[in-house]
Symmetry: C2
DNA sequence: ACCTTGTGCGGGAACGTTCCCGCATCAATA
DNA sequence: TATTGATGCGGGAACGTTCCCGCACAAGGT
């Protein structure tokens, strides 16, 4: 047992990786000294320090991260799950919002020294059970989602949205969707619209429930009829059909339901449309045109979307961005604070949105 | 030093986690026995096995994954990088192709017992250096990309596309884009098109180079003029402008260049369009309409895209899908084979594509 | 009666690192 | 010359697990 094939020799000793002791022996030093030299700690003479470093470099030494982690007690790993739609496995990334949120979260985490492990929605706990996760980020958990409970039960801190507020070991960052919805409705009103209609998914997500509530509140305060079309399932098809329902008249088949007074035809046609469901702006625009609307002449349009196509349509579509990058940064910052400074406060952060006003929601001056 | 606050006591001993020895002591057994009981190995009497399990359950024992990994020598962790566009940090997920590929890779890997760590493009090696990665998956590395070299130099196996073929420690899975491009051109020809034009990014990616080569080969074999418009940068804006260049006539400003004989106006107008650059199908369709084309009357259209909006346009757009799920599965299967069965073969796998023919590329029968 | 075989469990090393010490050595001071 | 203090380096434990052994004891055969 000299160099190759240590433990239970496989067949051809893939790469008898060089350890700290190997470097130490080669350099005629102790592993303690070499460790100190490489980590720039301890009291060492410059000569010895350089000798250790040079030897390590020459031998191609790379520290064993796992051993380090064991010593340190933390793996600097964060799990990342998107709740909701556990039935539609791993399609979540197709949504521009989640795509950008995911990318930004990974990048921010890495800059703070943490790596993000992608956990597809609906992952069994047996699958992430043997990952040394320091925390788990759960974005948009469904109301009946098991994942949050499972992770908390495993003793792992959870970072999610406001729906986990108050639970032991759970922290949250959320978007200020109440103000956002109100600001869009205000914008519609400023532009002269009096019959705005809202298209929103009929999901168990806290986010969508809050959109609905904010809209209801605003309508009540302004004495306006509440016009809502709810979309049964995600995807461009259902959303486009819901938009058509909203624009054409009464409720139709296919999962959509109309709450309270639905939009009516004729003189009562809607004059503004707020689409909160994730849908491609060009498709929404096309649907409006098919139903004889001129945007923004007859209909003001705002989509809650991160879809970049919005600025390339004719007219460009006004979007309300949730600023996923800002959410990611706020979330990771909060996480690091809790994990490293033992911040016991289960407080949360509210991130503001931004309305990018484009031609689709600005009334023409004629 | 009894239970709480072992090493250098922090301030309030967050959670003095229960270890194997704690369970053992509590149950009046040895750690060896408890370990065997929980892992269902060794020779134990049913009574003892159950006692150990019950005690562990009662005490809320959860094994330390890091220690396990140290013993096992592998962390079952795979890095995942998207090369190219290191300048546009972490936007890659917005492309439906990469989004689906990423999701599918994560899901497949997890099913095989590996977890995926998301490494934003342009990550410094100092950032992933202290991750216990068993392998790194690099999708679409740019020709001058440092990442592949860095990872290989770190002694970590790389799984990428065919561009890494032949390099020590590198393995590949690629898409059969040559056949794919030819099949689309054949399809155009079958539908009566004689002046197809190709829109392709001007990138250093192997994929795009191969698209260009396949097109050139097919044109030469069929004695057709080679019509190509290259797109300088990614994004819907540039691609749409490139499409307009292709449809309108000669080369224009804004980064596009026309190789060889560019598409001409008048009677020589193109009658088929193959867009390989990632772009929103509705936007491409709209651009064609703006230039007076009827699709598929005057112009057959095929997009290489995973964008789900393609089936919701009017007419629906024919797409060539690279089948990201299939690529992911082939890649991970190959990876597991190499990592676990020590398969030294640096061979690769070629995954076939699929053409989803829709109305946009089928000539009307009149 | 002894030797063998098998079963049930525990001791201890190993995985590779970090870090707390302790022991030399040497300069500076009494 | 003896005492202190600082400096430079190494020994060994610890992190929490798995797994190779070895030991005790019981049962079966001669």
């Amino acid at each position: 047992m000299t160099s190759g094939s240590r433990h239970g020799g496989q067949h051809s000793a893939p790469t008898p990786r060089v350890r700290l002791v190997d470097v130490a022996r080669e350099a005629g030093l102790s592993k303690t000294t070499v460790s100190a030299a490489l980590n720039d700690t301890g009291r060492l003479s410059p000569a010895v320090r350089e000798k250790a470093r040079e030897t390590a470099r020459r031998m191609g030494y790379r520290p064993n991260v796992t051993a380090r982690q064991l010593r340190a007690g933390r793996a600097k790993l964060i799990g990342y799950v998107v709740g909701e739609a556990a039935d539609a496995p791993s399609v979540f990334l197709e949504s521009p919002y989640f795509a950008r949120l995911t990318g930004a979260t990974a990048a921010t985490a890495l800059r703070r020294g943490y790596a993000l492990v992608l956990l597809p929605s609906g992952s069994l706990q047996s699958e992430w059970a043997d990952l040394p996760l320091d925390a788990v980020v759960v974005t948009d958990p469904g109301a009946d989602d098991r994942i949050v409970d499972d992770v908390l039960a495993a003793g792992i801190p959870v970072f999610s949205d406001r729906s986990v507020e108050g639970r032991q070991g759970a922290h949250w960052v959320d978007v200020d969707i109440d103000s956002a919805v109100r600001s869009v409705l205000d914008h519609f009103r400023d532009q002269g619209a009096r019959r705005p209609v809202l298209v929103v998914p009929d999901s168990t997500t806290r986010f969508h429930a809050e959109v609905f509530a904010a809209h209801r509140g605003w309508c009540a305060e302004h004495g306006l009829q509440e016009r809502v079309v709810r979309v049964g399932e995600p995807g461009n098809g259902p959303v486009v059909r819901a938009v058509e329902t909203a624009l054409a008249g009464g409720p139709e088949a296919d999962g959509e339901t109309v709450a309270d007074g639905g939009p009516a035809a004729g003189a009562d046609r809607p004059d503004a449309l707020l689409v909160v469901a994730e849908a491609s702006p060009p498709l929404v625009l096309e649907a409006a045109r098919r139903h004889g609307y001129d945007v923004p002449g007859d209909l003001l349009l705002v989509c809650v979307s991160e879809d970049a196509t919005a600025e390339h349509t004719e007219p460009p579509v006004t979007t309300l961005t949730l600023r996923p990058e800002a959410i990611a940064e706020a979330g990771i910052d909060h996480l690091v604070k809790v994990l490293e400074h033992g911040s016991r406060e289960p407080s949360g952060t509210l991130v503001p949105t931004r309305l990018d006003v484009r031609a689709s929601s600005v009334r023409k001056h004629d």
